[in-house]
């Protein structure tokens, strides 16, 4: 704190000057354009960065999707129209990835759908349970809250490394299993267990965030409602069913939307944990996009960009659908 105080003393006049001059200039502008148009000014810095580093690259990506070849610069790339999309959707039978030209893309889609359904339901369920537990009057609440939140702070690579360490054949989990007389297992090699662990690890790493949102939602429920329901003789379950749940729905909705988007984007955790294996069992869409466009010797930017457009559009539709549903349920 000392050091900061000294810094503060040095920089204070500088800062004051800066803020004052910004104020002076802005007041001048404000005099010209009027108060309401000042909104443009405030949104401008963000809009600039967003435009240059997000929006423009996305448009560039759209262009990439319609070009072929292996050259990096868009100007050097031959325009091929919708060929890349045609390649992606070249299937004899859309339900059987092996019949598709880009079988890995379709495997990615099916795996992603399964992963998203499992992961989002698990996240919602366990975040809710944890939030309800943490919302009770318990000792060491701050401690428990921190413990459940802590994994959120870890980088995906660290999370995957930890769990890889735990789940390997000569790892902690098998040591524990043997301790209880069980048989050691290759946890990640079994196709069903692999999906389970991928879901488990991602829930482990992310649920703290959603738990906190739900906890906040729980805490904003007015206590008078519980008092009223207890006067009516309601039990704990009825409290939950008729007071907590309806009032928590909007928060649940936020959790649902955010966790769904995050699940579809899932990449780093799985990439390090299973590499998409066994085989391609846990390979999701984003990994297909990454390997096709980036980590192969011959980098197919066009095909990769086309796949990312498909991903983007499906996310957009999904979100709009959810928003529509969300609006309806909150109106009703």
């Amino acid at each position: 704190m000392r050091l900061i105080d000294i810094l503060d003393r040095i920089t204070r006049p500088l800062l004051l000057l800066l803020v004052m001059s910004v104020d002076r200039i802005l007041t001048l502008i404000q005099g010209r354009v009027g108060i309401d148009k000042m909104g443009y000014f405030f949104v401008l810095p963000n809009l600039l960065i967003f435009g240059i580093f997000v929006l423009f690259p996305m448009l560039l990506n759209l262009y990439y999707a319609m070009t072929g070849g292996t050259k990096l610069f868009p100007a050097d790339r031959p325009f091929v129209g919708l060929d890349n999309f045609a390649t992606l959707f070249d299937c004899d039978d859309f339900l059987s990835p092996n019949s598709c030209q880009e079988d890995l893309f379709w495997r990615g889609i099916f795996n992603t759908i399964q992963f998203v359904v499992l992961q989002v339901s698990a996240i919602v369920l366990f975040s809710l349970l944890t939030a309800l537990a943490l919302n009770r009057r318990i000792i060491a609440r701050g401690f428990f809250r921190s413990v459940f939140f802590y994994p959120v702070l870890l980088s995906p690579v660290v999370v995957a490394l930890i769990w890889k360490w735990v789940l390997q054949y000569e790892g902690v989990l098998n040591a524990i299993v043997e301790l209880f007389g069980g048989e050691s297992m290759r946890w990640l090699l079994d196709t069903n267990w692999a999906m389970f662990w991928v879901v488990f690890v991602s829930v482990w790493a992310l649920m703290g965030f959603y738990t906190l949102i739900l906890l906040a939602g729980l805490q904003s429920i007015p206590p008078e409602l519980y008092e009223a329901s207890s006067i009516d003789g309601a039990n704990t379950w009825q409290d939950f069913r008729f007071v907590t749940m309806p009032l928590l729905m909007p928060t649940m909705f936020v959790v649902l939307v955010l966790s769904l988007i995050r699940a579809v984007q899932m990449f780093d955790h799985i990439f390090v944990l299973t590499g998409g294996g066994p085989g391609t069992r846990t390979q999701l869409m984003v990994q297909y996009i990454y390997t096709t466009g980036f980590s192969n010797q011959i980098q197919l930017f066009g095909l990769s960009a086309a796949a990312s457009m498909v991903l983007g559009v499906s996310l957009l539709i999904l979100t709009l659908l959810q928003l529509r549903l969300g609006n309806q349920s909150s109106l009703a």
Binding site: I4, T11, F73, A194, G275, G279, I298
Partner: protein, 426 residues
């Protein structure tokens, strides 16, 4: 809030002061990755160079190997490359290399000593440029844990015969594993490059008459089928191939004496000297034989100049220093890397290790240079070989876990290779 802002202002000032550097020396940058101690050895050698050449300073930027494979090509394509780089995709990146010929005081030295290997670093049609040198020449080949064989009472097949087949090794390894109850009879690095040697030995051609890469032949299929079966019956390490992304190895299992037979390559000698030492007798054995020969695959990493450098003369001076027989010999001796240098091959390298096991292993690998087949050399020199290797690795993996049948997998390999090549030419 104000205090945080104060901190911020200071930090910004710091950040803007970052690039302040004295510019009276030429600074060269090497993009580098490490497997073992080679980065330290190189730094040591360059320190000596800098002491004698005060006008040049060389910075080594050590990055993860994945960044050499994935990020460096992007940087090079965008014209943002370093002055020099250590690369393994020798041919694939050749278009970005600097031809140092005009800057070298003695280009003939390079032709003389690195002759056959310069070709690996040239674009097709180029037969004269001098882009750099091999930091190490590698040969793929198996290691065995001789101590395990002895304890199990199983004869080491290569003691009895000069040409052991893959089946014989597999049978012996399984016998060792069963006798000692160790978990893994055999393992092979997860790499299409490692798979290629055995495949060629089984008769795989890898190129058709037109010189186009192909995997659609009996030899390739035979090795692939054997390989898949070995995974199904537990001969091969069950997790390495199915459960990884990209390259994976079995160093841990081998160093832990849980593995009898391990298909890796000469680069591992340095690792094993460090990690195993003389804890048990590890040994390199000649590549197993088949109808196509007894070959491993040559390979290696090269230090190359990058064409966009602003200081080609200085790059050439550093390169000349590093490739002088003494310096390169010292580099090889201290890293235990086999050198692709004619002069050193003649004089031999005095390996900087007390470990007889390591010296023996290195001489086994050096002795195998003669058994490498022409196909093996052609495949290494083919600039899109990684395209073939990666497709082999990924599709065979799918066959191992039953997502594809063997024939489907082989067709997919060919298809992946063709699709990517079509984009290159199109």
């Amino acid at each position: 809030m104000r205090k945080i802002l104060a901190l911020f202002v200071i930090l910004t000032l710091l950040a803007s002061a970052l690039p302040a550097m004295t510019q009276d020396t030429v600074e060269l940058r090497i993009r580098w990755y490490n497997d073992g101690n080679e980065g330290e050895v190189l730094r040591d050698l360059l320190d000596r160079f800098e002491a004698d050449n005060p006008d040049i300073s060389v910075e080594i930027d050590t990055v993860p190997y994945s960044a050499i494979l994935e990020n460096l090509p992007l940087d090079l394509a965008a014209g943002e490359g370093p002055d020099m780089a250590r690369v393994t995709d020798l041919g694939g990146l050749a278009q970005y290399y600097l031809d140092m010929t005009p800057y070298l005081s003695d280009p003939a030295y390079w032709e003389e000593n690195f002759g056959p290997f310069l070709n690996w670093k040239r674009v097709p049609g180029d037969d004269s440029s001098i882009p750099g040198f091999m930091t190490q020449l590698t040969i793929t080949g198996p290691f065995i844990n001789r101590t395990l064989f002895e304890q199990a009472g199983v004869e080491v097949p290569s003691d009895m015969s000069d040409s052991v087949t893959w089946e014989e090794w597999a049978a012996a390894s399984v016998a060792v594993a069963e006798a000692l109850e160790i978990p893994y009879p055999m393992a092979m690095d997860r790499s299409g490059h490692r798979f290629a040697g055995p495949a060629i030995s089984m008769g795989a051609m890898y190129f058709d008459d037109m010189g186009h890469p192909t995997v659609m032949d009996e030899g390739f299929r035979n090795m692939a089928e054997t390989f898949v079966n070995w995974h199904l019956d537990g001969t091969m390490h069950p997790e390495m191939w199915p459960l990884s992304e990209g390259y994976a190895n079995a160093y841990e299992e081998f160093a832990n004496a849980e593995l009898a037979f391990y298909m890796a390559g000469s680069w591992a000698v340095g690792q094993f000297s460090e990690a195993i030492g003389d804890a048990f007798d590890w040994q390199a054995v000649p590549n197993p034989c088949g109808p196509g020969g007894c070959t491993g695959l040559p390979g290696g990493a090269a230090l190359v100049g990058i064409v966009t450098t602003e200081h080609p003369e200085e790059v050439a001076r550093v390169m000349e220093y590093l490739t002088s027989q003494d310096v390169l010999g010292e580099f090889g001796a201290r890293t235990l890397f086999i050198q692709a240098h004619a002069g050193l091959s003649e004089s031999g390298i005095d390996w900087n290790t007390d470990l007889q096991l390591a010296k023996d292993a290195l001489s086994v690998f050096v002795g195998q240079v003669g058994t490498l087949t022409q196909t093996a050399f052609d495949l290494q020199a083919y600039i899109y070989n990684r395209n073939v290797f990666n497709a082999t690795r990924d599709r065979l993996t799918q066959a191992l876990v039953g997502e594809l049948t063997l024939d489907e997998a082989i067709e997919r390999i060919q298809d992946d290779v063709d699709t990517a090549l079509a984009e290159v030419s199109g």
